[in-house]
Amino acid sequence: MPDLGVASSSIVSGVLLGGMLALAALGLSIVLGVMRLVNLAHGDFLLVGAYAGFFFFTFTGVDPLLGLPVIALFVAALAIPVYRYLLQPLAERGAEAQMMTMFAIAIILENVFVLAFSADTRSIGVSYAALPLTLGPVTVPLVYVIGFAISLVAILAVHWLVARTAFGRDLRASAADAEAAATIGVDVNRVRMLTFALGVACAGIGGTLIGTAFQFSPSSGGAYLLNSLAIVVLGGLGNVLGTLFGGLALGALQSVGGLALGDGYRDLVGMALFLLVLAFRPEGFARGRR
């Protein structure tokens, strides 16, 4: 058994990572809520953000965390044509056609990453990547704390957007009942497009943060997708703060799983949790869906 310092540092690291993943999960959750679409390419859009951060840093030398607004806009701009030309024409055909289309985009993106950037594992090498931060017995990398803080701010910003703005009101109306929202003059199609862009941008920002703190490769997308889904079911669909706590809980549990069973079991914890929640407490996931 590892000593207390290692264990507590590992759990705190897990919680910080969970906070970063929660941002990506939030993007998945709002798309699921508004469009009834499980975006199977979400993990690959996260990698788009990670690669965007990597090349932004390589070519400009500017800290990618300062470039986050640019990266978010870039990823959102990619999402708009995907919605407009690939998803919107399928809107009348039920959720399956859209989900399969996103699955096809996921496998295209993964293989385009390999072709364009090689299968190498990378990380965004900012100068402070290796700096530790020590507080009592707990030592965690400084980038984890910075990434976590940025993620938290972004999650609160999305929360404000959904809860307090006119767009958020339209978004919530479209999620609750698209037909009724259209009747009272909400442009549901536009709301869906912007929601999709927002959701994908959340994945992109999360990707840059995760790419700064961890390593990533073209095939990492699937694991990020499934961990994000686990967070969404843990926190309950459509619940912004629930998603945040779901992320923190998943991160902590992954660290506990890694400490108790070995590092290889970290991702396994997410899948197992996902299936267990699905089996025993599915209502958080299925709210309003019939």
Partner: protein, 315 residues
Amino acid sequence: MKREKIAPAPRETAVILVAFAVLWFAPAFIGEYGLQLGFRTLIYLTLAEGWNLMAGSAGLVSLGTSCFVGLGAYVAYGLLNGLDLPLPATLVACALSGAALAALVSPALFRLRGLYFTVGTLALAELLRLIMVNLSAFGGATGIFLKNDPPALPILFRYALAVAVIAALTVTLCVRTRASVILRSVRDDEDAAAQMGVRPFRVKLAAFMLASALAAMAGAVQAVKLGAIEPYGMFGLQWSIDVLTMVIIGGVGARLGPLVGALFVIALGEALADYPEAHIAIAGVILIVLIRFAPRGIVGLAAASGHTVRRRTLA
């Protein structure tokens, strides 16, 4: 309401059995390369028949094919290495284990409808793969070897053929008899079906268990051919991607969809064998185009154009 032409089950059974008899003697006439391709096509056909039974007839879109392929592979190695069971008995045991795993996880996967089944099967496949990678009892990440030499390729080809014929006959039995009405009623409107006295859970479970049993057998035959297995390959997402691609390209719900799709995907793979990444990306593009413009796949396209031609000649 579109009338669906239902070929009588006996005629379709006869066609399948004739094909079986003819292909049984194929190893004498086609070379090594032909046998390799034929073997792969038969394995894919088996998986696609099962997937199509779930998606086309019961509305269950699965991304978990790999978990049953991998299960079959590992169960087969356990029985062949540990108990020295003969291969036919091993295949039966693999089929049973596939059906058993499907039954075991069905409460979690069927609790929620539609999309969540898809996501649940994806998570299940990933979970099993990670377990196999981490558990050293099953060889861990390095995998395990088959103790005895695998049978020669012509014999393996016949095993694959037998499994594919079992798959084809199973599906014929399900979709060309009264059972098809029950299956489709669940796919089209679960609530209405339940009102009529159909039990949707049992119907979906039956389709899921049959498809899983077939996938486990296919995985077992594939594994025996390889002579050594490891979790990344046998539990790889590529199985699930390939199967889904085949059936969507061939035509979901069409009786010939799996065969047409399997031949198409194998041909595409051969044409682009030197560019594996481009091959998968192109398959993705084809998927998107077909989902958008030809939701009934190549078989649907062919049927539609045949229809137009007939109408023109009549006019």
